[in-house]
């Protein structure tokens, strides 16, 4: 940082090395302000909702609902896709500790196969909201779709990179799902869920054609892609 000139107004505090990465703090302040824009006298608390695992071939779709207090101070929280796995793991307990309430909802592969992925995702989101201990006045959900809820739901496209509460929910959903996939990996190591998390990587598709599917595979989902890949080899 540049030296301050002598003429610097004295009421400005002395320059100190910023204790937090300034950009992260700026992002936090912006994401937080986005949420506060939805709070009015009638709506004093909000929950952010997001999911993880919608596009995977195996494992559940996991939704999280998070209600944050005012001035949560959760610097570093951002869209789970823009945060490294190590950072997500570090932020997860911080979010859970800080949040007024966290709700998780799961849609297992059977539900996904019987109701299709969109409906299973919306069901998981509705379950996440009903698992909250405190009821929010409104719900901000990532995406375009609105799940069924007695509380007003506002869909926000790109919400995981715009709203602090949705960003926090995206991290909670992702970390929770990764943990479930790690457990699944312990049971079925041949698919390497530890790395691919159930998503359709080449290695995962290879393993399916070699070892077949397990009950945790979504039978209705992208089966054609799998068959096509099978024919390729």
């Amino acid at each position: 940082m540049a030296k301050r000139p002598e003429s610097q107004r004295s009421e400005l505090p002395p320059e100190s090395s910023p204790s937090i990465r300034p950009r992260a703090l700026e992002l936090y302040a912006c994401l937080d302000a986005f949420d506060r824009g939805y709070l009015t006298e009638g709506a004093e608390s909000l929950a952010g909702v997001d999911e993880a695992g919608r596009g995977a071939l195996a494992g559940p779709v996991v939704a999280a609902a998070v209600i944050l207090p005012r001035d949560s101070g959760l610097v570093g929280v951002n869209d789970s896709k823009r945060v490294s796995e190590a950072q997500r793991e570090a932020l997860f307990p911080e979010i859970v500790r800080t949040a007024l309430s966290v709700g998780i909802g799961i849609g297992n592969p059977r539900l996904i196969d019987s109701r299709n992925i969109l409906n299973a995702t919306l069901t998981a989101m509705a379950r996440a909201i009903s698992n909250l201990r405190v009821l929010p006045s409104i719900v901000l959900v990532d995406g375009r779709d609105r799940m069924e809820s007695r509380i007003p739901v506002i869909p926000i496209v790109g919400g995981d990179g715009r709203s602090l509460s949705i960003a926090a929910a995206s991290i909670v959903a992702k970390v929770t799902r990764d943990r479930l996939m790690r457990r699944l990996h312990a049971r079925y190591p041949v698919y390497n869920f530890l790395e691919n998390k159930g998503y359709g990587t080449r290695e995962h598709l290879d393993a399916i054609s070699r070892h077949g599917m397990i009950p945790d595979h979504r039978k209705s989902y992208r089966l054609k892609t799998v068959e096509k890949t099978e024919r390729l080899f």
Binding site: E11, P18, E26
Partner: protein, 117 residues
């Protein structure tokens, strides 16, 4: 960090916040007939003049008190002037983005007040 740098910082933060709300900054620091607009932003048919206030130091949480109604009236006049020179009919609005930073830069809040005048 001097006053000018602080102002630049405030405008940068305000701009990233406005982007989250879908407001795209089209001009910065424009002067119209001696009246200044910090940020000029658009969203659809809306043209918003944004006054940015950044306060740093012991007065944390008090930047909102620094809003000057007379200043805002001048911003409004400048906005009307900008609009008069445009062929496209846009709806004008004046917003304030208030940013508070504490002395050691460890806390920061952003507040957006829409349609102040």
């Amino acid at each position: 960090m001097n006053t000018r740098e602080l102002g630049g910082l405030g405008e940068r933060i305000a701009e990233s916040f406005l982007a989250l709300k879908g407001l795209v900054v089209v001009r910065r620091n424009i002067v119209y007939a001696g009246r200044e607009i910090d940020l000029l932003a658009r969203k659809g048919t809306l043209l918003v003049a944004v006054e940015v206030k950044l306060r740093r130091g012991e007065s944390f949480g008090r930047a909102v008190e620094a809003i000057d109604q007379r200043k805002l009236a001048r911003v409004r006049q400048a906005l009307e002037g900008v609009l008069a020179g445009m062929s496209q009919p846009l709806a004008p609005r004046v917003d304030v983005v208030v940013i508070d930073v504490d002395a050691d830069m460890s806390r920061m809040t952003v507040e957006h007040i829409e349609a102040v005048c």
